[in-house]
Symmetry: C2
Subunit: 336 residues, 2 copies
């Protein structure tokens, strides 16, 4: 790649924004000038990049005509406010909150539906899917042609880092307080998260589904390109600091060949399959790694057309920052 | 009840055996003489019952003709060795390990298939199902007639107390060591359990299924009396001390009426349904309670014949000791 871009990272002081900056450096992304932006509360902080400390500036004042590509990792409200402004200035946007609808801001996992870019025009507006959807789409991408997927049933056990630094701090604080027999005051989560599982992540709608559950299902269907797929999603907040664990049951249109599925996963870049008898965990395998780990591949107990598996993935890396940077790499290689 | 029995509790010093003794007292089970038994390592300890400390005696020396009913909560090997001896002495047995086959030692959840006892003859041999199967069977019992269940997909998040006192101690120790930055040495569990999720509970067979996963599926099918049901089970060990959390997706033969399902659950003794918008957890609701808590009832996102729900249950009480004692109550009321 001889091209090089001026790039903005919005939400640069958050866990995901900071990891995007790290990955731009680690992966030698062709950046000419890097502009780090955040809300007024975080402006003035600095973030290291290529041996320098770059100052984080206030987003509200930023002139998007200075950059050709912006990563927005600052939540739904910021995305909704700034996407139009950025594109009006000719800047392509990779967004991570899912604030914009599927048709306007398509969900992209390069390994699963990278070819979607061929149908779009710059300035691009693309969304990195919900972290659990990205990890699962990566695993299902090589399997979908042989499986003829009918239904996905997913229980997604989410680390507290899905709620950013405050979620991490709350689990640490509650754990210490409980071990010291002190009373708890939940703040970030609505109930005690230490040594407990919370079955509801965010508010639910009138049908009882959490916003994130709907988001995972719709993102997954768009990325896999299987509109008629039935998806059941249950998100659970678990007392784990980093990394999402996914318990997945798939129903295929015909009996599944587990050895073939394993072989297809082994060939797929970005996936590390753990052999039978062992299994991956977020702590021992996934956290800090680019790869999504998969294991416990097995047929149904009563149904040869059912395939069960387990995924451990770093929600901040492939789930968020890495996938966004990979979308950027695809854009710069072929389209920008 | 004017009848009263001589009773043995085998495994009386374990978490489940001790809770059985507590429940016999709390529920005023008509006990004449209570014999507490354990292996040689635990014999000599004492366990409180009705204001006295009862001495635990060695199982190997016990004469089963002294009792009419025995609870065996001492694992598969003990159950396999002593069930025949007890019944040869005319003693009915309620067993909790699942060591014996379904046809020989039927699984029983009184609220779901209590009528099974009518077909049996004393001395009885009955099994209290795997804890997750008991909790789920209790919830599904009132629903099965209206749902015409086709398939159950279950992710069962199991507390470390499912591995007894050693599991509890290991989670506490690892948590403290991690918070103090000291290195870990997993013993009871094969990997770090603190702040982590383990996707495999016990060894797996050649098909990749854990013994416990097969047990939950078979127990559930027998208790629900639906042999053609398809059941997918994934057991996950989670960093929670007490209480099982079950993420459940059901497929019915026809569209589900959620309001009707909620109403049927509300009428069922032993179940506490948590209203929409809120949800139960093991810490805030289930632990130490006889009731099984259910919440997050919702249709499928893409399938009106799908019903999703969440269960929080005390694995030691209704999951194990309480269900066993309730089987005993049913036996003494009608059959002994």
């Amino acid at each position: 790649m001889s091209k090089s871009l001026d790039i903005a990272v919005i939400g640069a002081t958050g866990t995901i924004g900071e990891t995007i900056v790290q990955l731009l450096e680690e992966r030698e992304f062709p950046v000419t000038n890097l502009h780090l932006l955040a809300g007024s509360a975080s402006a003035g902080q600095s973030v290291p990049f290529r041996g320098k400390n770059l100052r984080v500036r206030e987003l509200a004042d930023f002139d998007f005509s200075k950059v050709q590509l912006a990563f927005i990792a600052a939540g739904e409200a910021v995305a909704a406010s700034y996407v139009a402004k950025a594109r009006a200035a000719g800047c392509s946007v990779i967004e991570l909150s899912g604030a914009l609808p599927l048709d306007e801001a398509p969900r992209l996992v390069p390994e699963a539906n990278g070819e979607l870019l061929e149908t779009l025009q710059p300035p691009f507006l693309l969304t990195s899917p919900a972290p659990a959807a990205t990890a699962l789409a990566l695993v299902l991408a090589p399997l979908r042609s042989v499986l003829a997927l009918q239904r996905i049933t997913l229980t997604a056990a989410l680390a507290v880092s899905s709620q950013g630094r405050e979620g991490i701090a709350e689990l640490a604080k509650q754990t210490t307080e409980l071990l010291n027999m002190r009373p708890l005051e939940p703040k970030v989560f609505d109930k005690q998260i230490a040594f407990n599982l919370l079955a509801q992540v965010g508010a639910v709608d009138d049908s009882g589904h959490a916003h994130l559950e709907r988001r995972i299902a719709q993102d997954l269907k768009q990325v896999l390109g299987v509109a008629e797929l039935k998806v059941a999603v249950s998100c659970v907040q678990v007392p784990v600091f980093f990394g999402d664990s996914l318990s997945v049951s798939l129903q295929a249109a015909k009996p599944v060949d587990v050895a073939q599925a394993a072989h297809l996963l082994d060939k797929q870049p970005g996936i590390e399959r753990v052999e039978e008898g062992d299994y991956p965990t977020v702590v021992s395998d996934a956290v800090g790694q680019d790869e999504v780990y998969v294991g416990r591949l097995r047929l149904g107990l009563d149904d040869p057309s059912e395939l069960n598996l387990w995924i451990a993935s770093d929600n901040v890396r492939k789930g968020s920052a890495l996938n966004a940077v990979q979308i950027g790499e695809l854009l710069i290689k072929h389209y920008l």
